[in-house]
């Protein structure tokens, strides 16, 4: 090739952003504010420092004092973990020189690049100025989309629709337990209080939702607990999806081998009505096909991007981003990472931390006047536990597709042959390693 041609190709490649970027640590300058301190947000804060050097000002805003891991929280229902074992502080990040604010981010002014912070119980407002904002808002629930909570005309139904039954209160009668914490413990207590021979009913929303294999892991964990303590009891899974969404063959095999006859899985089952059980404990649950009694009822509601991302979401409630930088397609200067992102990617903790790393690297590049990596690649794994000591994985490498402008699974990924004790060990170590990576 002649030199001139090479140069021409070079500049075309540069224009197309095709060359890998080399960014020296310490070159990036600016203020980055991260709102949300879960797997995604905490990872972004740490890696901005590791890759961006000392000159970046990094602030992490998270209103709740503790980090409670959703991964492994189904084991609290099964009884092999305590919520305290999944609960951590974020002070392990302090040595990176990250300013932590245990405040609420009330609003964002993207023109002036300001996030306004408030503190519960005070009326003080504190503005934080940013050059780049990352929001990692996680998920929120869309109760209005839960069929049993709206009438035929689509209006929200009122009878059971109150904080006593549903919602974010710590101990509602129908806990979602889909954000680990008080509700996880509340659901465990209900299972403990349920007499042998009772029925646990759970409903699964249509995809996409946080943690695709999570509902089936939950069914397994409840069955594990029943098989040891309440062997006459039943688990009924009412799934709005046409089939088990993730690791289907593995879950079915585990259910057959470990809990024969205990788990009644019903696909395409939409809950249309929930009523009190005529003076007795529990509920009557109606679907298009059946009516059944639930002694303990767990509704995993339809989901959308966390509140903070409101106004940056699409009609389905998720946030569209550029997968090279995770910058919002709606609001420039704002990057959105984790479960809130609109994509076909599994909403997992590992995925959230990988997206955080792509965003951190891209922001370091942007604040160093360098182009971000045009071809991000990363690995993802989700482990699921089918008992206290048996687990299995789904694992994939994901690669940016420049034509389609999305992340696609590379060839070679897949699932375990079967659930095993060895993978249960590895899954526990996965948790310890990712906690260390995200929080220290």
């Amino acid at each position: 090739m002649q030199r001139r041609e090479f140069l021409k190709l070079m500049s075309a490649a540069i224009a197309a952003g095709m060359l890998p970027t080399t960014v020296k640590a310490g070159q990036a300058r600016g203020r980055v504010v991260i709102v949300g301190g879960g797997y995604a947000g905490a990872t972004a804060a740490k890696y901005l420092r590791l890759w961006g050097g000392e000159k970046l000002e990094i602030s992490l805003v998270e209103e709740s004092h503790t980090f409670i891991s959703c991964p492994l929280s189904n084991l609290v229902l099964g009884g092999s973990k305590k919520i305290g074992e999944l609960t951590f502080g974020r002070n392990g990040l302090d040595h990176y020189g990250i300013r932590r604010y245990e405040h609420t981010a009330s609003f964002i002014n993207p023109e002036q690049r300001i996030v306004m912070l408030t503190k519960a119980g005070t009326s003080l407002m504190m503005p934080l100025q940013y050059d780049r904002l990352i929001i990692a808002p996680g998920i929120d629930f869309v109760w209005d989309r839960y069929p049993a909570l709206r009438d035929a005309a689509g209006n929200p139904l009122t009878p059971l629709r109150d904080a006593e039954h549903f919602g974010e209160s710590p101990q509602p009668r129908i806990p979602h337990a889909w954000k680990a914490g008080a509700q996880t413990v509340a659901l465990r207590r209900q299972l403990e209080a349920m007499p042998d021979g009772g029925t646990f009913v759970m409903s699964v929303p249509k995809m996409p939702y946080r943690c695709p294999p999570g509902p089936y892991e939950r069914a397994s964990q409840v069955a594990f607990y029943f098989s040891r303590h309440k062997p006459k009891s039943k688990v009924i899974v009412l799934d709005e999806n046409p089939d088990i969404v993730s690791k289907k063959a593995l879950f079915l095999r585990a259910w057959n081998e470990l809990y024969p006859g205990m788990i009644d899985y019903r696909p395409n089952n939409v809950v249309t009505e929930i009523r009190e059980n005529g003076g007795q404990d529990g509920f009557r649950v109606k679907t298009e096909f059946d009516e059944l009694s639930a002694d303990v009822l767990n509704v995993i509601p339809p989901q959308c991007a966390g509140d903070l991302a409101q106004g940056m979401d699409n009609v389905d409630g998720w946030c569209e981003v550029d997968f090279m930088t995770y910058e919002s397609k709606v609001v420039p200067g704002v990057h959105i990472i984790g479960d809130a992102v609109s994509s076909a990617l599994p909403k997992s903790a590992h995925m959230a931390s990988s997206q955080a790393k792509v965003a951190a690297a891209a922001i370091v590049a942007l604040l160093s006047d360098a182009p971000p990596d045009p071809q991000p690649v990363f690995a993802n794994t989700c482990y699921s536990f089918v008992s206290d000591k048996l687990a299995m994985h789904v694992a994939n490498v994901y690669r940016y597709d420049a034509q389609k402008k999305i992340m696609l699974p590379a060839e070679g990924g897949g699932v375990s042959d079967r659930a095993s004790e060895q993978e249960s060990d590895y899954a526990q170590w996965w948790a310890k390693n990712i906690w260390s990576d995200v929080l220290t």
């Binding site: 990363f378 794994t381 994985h393 310890k432 220290t440």
Partner: protein, 117 residues
């Protein structure tokens, strides 16, 4: 005792032989490579410094690293999960990752502080 115990035992021989973490050249890492290597941290710890259970990758010699990854890819080494990751990577990526991890200092990773709940 499982096969990984053996792997871990004889693996010790391979640490630190060719690696000079003190001279780690951060600036040579493209953001592409950092992110890819960063995604291994969920199981292998920050910069390959596992807190336990999985092998430490920091300071492995490139030759050893590449041999293991190639064996995972070819299905010649027993693995629970690594074949799924290794098969998704290109030859170039494996070479770059080998170099990256060989340059990472071996340090003791921390555990986050537990909070009573």
């Amino acid at each position: 005792m499982n096969r990984h115990f053996f792997a871990a035992a004889w693996l010790c021989l391979f640490y630190g032989t060719g690696a000079s973490p003190a001279l780690a050249d951060e600036s040579a890492d493209t953001s592409h490579l950092r992110v890819l290597a960063g995604s291994c941290a969920a199981c292998h710890g920050t910069n390959g410094n596992s807190v336990g259970g999985t092998p430490v990758l920091a300071g492995l010699t490139p030759a050893y690293f590449i041999a293991r990854m190639q064996a995972f890819r070819a299905g010649k080494l027993d693995s629970t999960v690594m074949h799924h990751h290794a098969q998704g990577l290109t030859e170039d990526e494996i070479t770059l990752l080998a170099d990256y991890f060989s340059r990472q200092a071996r340090v003791t990773s921390r555990a986050p502080t537990a909070e009573n709940h």
